[in-house]
Structures are given as structure tokens and as C-alpha cells.
Symmetry: C2
Subunit: 300 residues, 2 copies
DNA sequence: GTCATCGATACGCCTTGAGTATCAATTAAA
DNA sequence: TTTAATTGATACTCAAGGCGTATCGATGAC
């Protein structure tokens, strides 16, 4: 004979009420099956749990001891069921986020905060990767979702735009072109450029380079860094000019001036994932990403 | 639908093997009922626990999570069963021992040590009581067993002799009677006595007084103390004489001399308990007490 | 002494779990 | 490409076991 949960539930009800009739009512059964299950439990344990007289029921020492543990076992199982359901819904678990520093600087903190607030029981594992590694990490399952620019992405990966904004020119404050309301890209042909490295930010690098080529020149690159804040700092020091996402103008750095450009270019950031990834947390994160994207689009 | 332990056991077996056929064999059932029970479990949880293809079975995130907890729940229940059985056998639990200091000085430490060694999982609660309170404590269930002299005990209490030894006289080393191999009790008539208080050691007090009266005198009591070691100390200081259990002679106190007496009196100590006490630890303690009593009788 | 309460027992019904046979899907081998 | 083997799911049947009704026996209360 083996113990069943029914017997534990019946036992706990009886131990709580110490009355077969009332315990049975509480369990939505009649008294005889309760008597039988308790007897079967005692038989399985090989120990008396109750002392019954036809006038009162009380626990034995073994019964008191078993009661403590039975309550804990039932509570543990209940907790396991709840947390498993939460895991299945993606409300808890582990989400591995891969990001490229150049792409994630703007979106990552806000999106992670939103997700973390919505699902505090989910564990987020962030890891910085270079763009070409991101695809492989997502396809192999080493990462669940990436935050990146929409670079040439291989089959088997989905992309969702979360944020988009125009490129603006950033110039030293004393620069002649800073006087104009709009910067004509062609006039930057002779300026030294401070850009993103092609290796770690191919999309942004290609966008800037493409914009220049369209105006008939190849940008003369003096410095490269994948930290956008550093680019602005270097421009403010008078070391060159650059094209950066407009939102960088929030930096309000003395010595750097932001201006829209004559031929608008939009740079976007989004999330990338493998649709066959079964991690339930991914679905919840994508919900957040969609809502975040809509909020950004609406608020822009 | 409610979860049953059968489903947990089946689930753990399947999660361990990741193969319906082998898990079923291991569970001593066939494969179809295993499939059905797992499906029922998933249905109850409202979450998929396995991803099945006809070629391989693997756990989902929720399945891995549930597996951890299911293993713990089953282990907890197993532990609860074992410890409950141990409790029923009296191998663990709480045993409340009441003792009178005058009676327990000799038997208590050895008996408690023997019991504690035999049942290390049992908790022993010692409390000193005066003799008249011991009976009441045992009858009311406030104590499980007492260690005492066999005083007039009320109905409803059982007594088992554990130790018995003769009373010997203890005299100051320079006392004239100390020269004799055996002390005639009648010659102590004029000596000041150091005795046990009648209130806290009625049996011992009555035994000494009765012995004196049989020899035609009432002992002249100079000092009373219920600590037998103190009695010997006071005798060694020359403050009087006393009749004490022979084993006190082990004290080897300079200035005190022990001698057998002309009319031997036996003082015994034993354990007292209420036979309707259902504490399983009591039965094990009484086993120890019996064995201890036989060992003492045999070694004496 | 009678009646009420309460847990145990007897008996019948029916739910449900297990076994057999088989299907459907996938993969390996010919 | 076809065939065979493996594996989990499903259909059907049987039987064990859980539950409900009726009743018993013991214990207290009035």
C-alpha cells in the first residue's frame, strides 16, 4: 500500500477538526470514506495517528508529528504548482538577453526596467556580445533575445522594431556649420569623422558611411568608438564631427551642437529572437517590447 | 481535478528517464497509463511539462521547475513517514522526566545517559519536583515518568525498582564507633543526626527514623539537607552522624568513615509512571530502566 | 432507562486506473 | 524510395477501489 495525497488531505482536515463528521463535511464527502482512508493511512504507516473513543478524537504523539509534516508537504506542493504555472506563463524563470553595446544604450535600460517591473520573479541574465555572435547565440539557444540594430539577419530569427529616430549631425560649438539650422551632409566632406567601428556596430557604421557616399564622399575617419557618449565627448573637444541618433542631444554637453541633416536617415533598434525558442519568459518579454515600442512611437 | 502523488511519482520517473517506455517499466506499469497520467497532470497544472516528439522527450522550463519541487515533496513525505514511524516507536519525541533530587542523585545520570545513547533523537526534559508533586504531575500528564523512592503511591501509578542498596552509617573519622567493623544502631542514640528533610525526601527520612525507633530512640536531628553529598561533608566536619546509602562511600572523603549497621535496611530507587500514558517514548524509557535495573542487580 | 451522538462496518454502485491492441509519426536501414 | 522499427497517443475492456446509504455498537446525557 502506498500513501496518496487524498489521505494527507483527509488526515489534515481530521487533525484540524478532531471530528470525523465535521471533517467529512468540510471535505465534501461523507463520514464512512473518511474513516476508511484514515484507517488505511494508519495501516500504511504502521502507526496509530488518532485515539478514537466514540466520544472524542485526539492525536497521538505520532499523529501530531505527522500533522506538522503533512501540512508542510501539502503547502510545498501547492507552492510548487503555483510557481510551475507562473513558470509556464513566463512570469518567472530565466531570460538571457544578448545585446550589442552600440545598439542597446538607448533601449536596453528602459526595456529591462519595464520587464523587470512587470515580472519581478523572472531572472534576467544580460551579456554583451558582438553583432555577429548574437545571431549564433540566438539560434543555438545560448541567448533568448537580443537587442540590436536590424542587421542582415539569418533565416530563423524574428525581428521587432522597438525604437526609431533620425540621425542628426553633432558638431563642435564653434564650427561654422553649427550656425545653420539644418546641416547639409555634403558640406561635411572635408571634416574628420568620429564613427562607430564597423566590427562592433556594422549597421550604424554602414548607415553613416552610406549617407556620406550618397553625397559624393567617403567619410574621413579619425577616431572610432562604440560608445556613443564618447563620440559626443570627442566632438565637444573639437576632434571632429559625427552623425548620431537624435536622442543623444539629450546629453546637453557644452561644446557640442546637434543639428538635423539635409537628407534624413532613420536608425532603428529592436529585439531579435528565434521563434522556435520555447522559453515562456521570451513571450512575456516580447509583450513588453511591443508595448514599449508602441509607447515610444506614440510619445515621439 | 486534483493532483495525486501517483502523478508526482510517475512524473519524476519520466523526468529522470525522459522515455515513456523505460519510465513505465521502472514504475512496474505499462506505457499507456503513464502517458495518460502525465497528460492528466499537465491538464491539472494547465501547463506543458514535456515536449514530446515521437523520437525524443524533453522537459519544458516549467517541467524542470516542477521536477525540482516534486522531488523535494516526495522526499519530504518520505522523511515525514519515517520520522512518524520513529515517533510511534518512541525512538523520537519528548520525554518529560520528573525527579526528586534526593532520590535521583544516584540513578538519574546513569539512566538518562543510557536512554540518551539508545535514542539520540528523543528529547529529554528534566524537571525537579518535590515528592508529593510528582504523583500529581504523572497522573495529570505533565510528566511522563518520575525517578523516586517508592513512597506511598496512589492508584493509577506503576513502579519499577531500578536500584537498591543498604543503608550504612557514616561517622566522623575520630568517632569511637568508627573503630568497630559494624555499627550497632542503638549506640547512635545520643549522637546528633544529619538527615534528609521529611518534606522533600519522606521515604528516606522515614527509613532512617524507623530504624532508630526500632532501637528505642528518636533520632536527635541537628541538621537537614536533601543533598546527600552535603550530609557526608557535614559528618566529615564532625557535626554529627547519619545513615546513608552505601554507595555514598565512593566519595572517599577524608574525615568521614562508612560502616555497615547492625540491622540492615535497604533503600531503593525506581521509576514511576502512569500506565495509561500513551507517550511511546515512555515505553522505550521503561525498557532502558528495566535493562538498567538488571545490570545494576547483576553487577551488585 | 431512553435517546442522541459518533465512529466503524457492510454492501452496492460507479469512477478511474491499468492492460491489450492498435494507430500515427518519425527515423533508420535496405 | 520503400520498408521496418521505435515511440508516444488512443480506443476499448476489465477490475480495483473510492464513495454513498444503511446500519451497528459504544458512550454519554437527560
Amino acid at each position: 500500500m502506498t500513501i496518496e495525497l487524498r489521505q494527507l488531505r483527509y488526515f489534515v482536515a481530521l487533525a484540524d477538526t478532531l471530528h470525523f463528521g465535521r471533517a467529512a463535511t468540510q471535505l465534501h464527502i461523507t463520514q464512512p470514506p473518511l474513516s476508511r482512508q484514515i484507517a488505511a493511512l494508519e495501516d500504511t504507516l504502521g502507526a496509530a495517528l488518532f485515539v478514537r473513543s466514540s466520544r472524542q478524537v485526539e492525536l497521538t504523539a505520532a499523529g501530531r508529528h505527522f500533522h506538522e509534516h503533512a501540512v508542510r508537504v501539502l503547502a510545498a506542493l501547492d507552492g510548487a504548482v503555483r510557481s510551475t504555472q507562473a513558470t509556464a506563463r513566463g512570469e518567472r524563470g530565466v531570460l538571457r538577453v544578448g545585446f550589442t553595446m552600440s545598439a542597446a544604450w538607448n533601449v536596453l535600460p528602459a526595456l529591462i526596467r519595464r520587464y523587470g517591473d512587470a515580472f519581478p520573479a523572472a531572472e534576467i541574465q544580460l551579456s554583451e556580445v558582438v553583432p555577429r555572435e548574437l545571431d549564433e547565440a540566438l539560434l543555438s539557444g545560448r541567448a533568448d533575445v537580443g537587442i540590436a540594430f536590424p542587421w542582415q539577419r539569418p533565416d530563423g530569427l524574428e525581428y521587432l522594431r522597438v525604437h526609431a529616430e533620425p540621425l542628426w549631425a553633432v558638431l563642435p560649438a564653434g564650427h561654422p556649420l553649427a550656425a545653420a539650422a539644418v546641416v547639409a551632409v555634403g558640406e561635411l566632406a572635408d571634416e574628420p569623422f568620429i564613427t562607430f567601428p564597423a566590427a562592433t556596430a556594422p549597421a550604424l557604421h554602414a548607415l553613416v558611411a552610406g549617407c556620406c557616399r550618397e553625397h559624393g564622399f567617403e567619410p574621413r575617419i579619425r577616431l572610432e568608438t562604440h560608445l556613443q557618449q564618447t563620440i559626443v565627448n570627442l566632438v565637444a573637444e573639437g576632434l571632429g564631427v559625427s552623425l548620431v541618433p537624435r536622442s543623444m542631444s539629450r546629453m546637453q554637453l557644452a561644446g557640442a551642437v546637434f543639428r538635423p541633416i539635409s537628407s534624413p536617415r532613420v536608425i532603428e533598434q529592436g529585439v531579435i529572437w528565434a521563434p522556435n525558442n520555447a522559453n515562456p519568459c521570451l513571450a512575456r518579454f516580447l509583450d513588453c517590447a511591443r508595448a514599449f515600442g508602441e509607447a515610444m512611437a506614440g510619445g515621439d
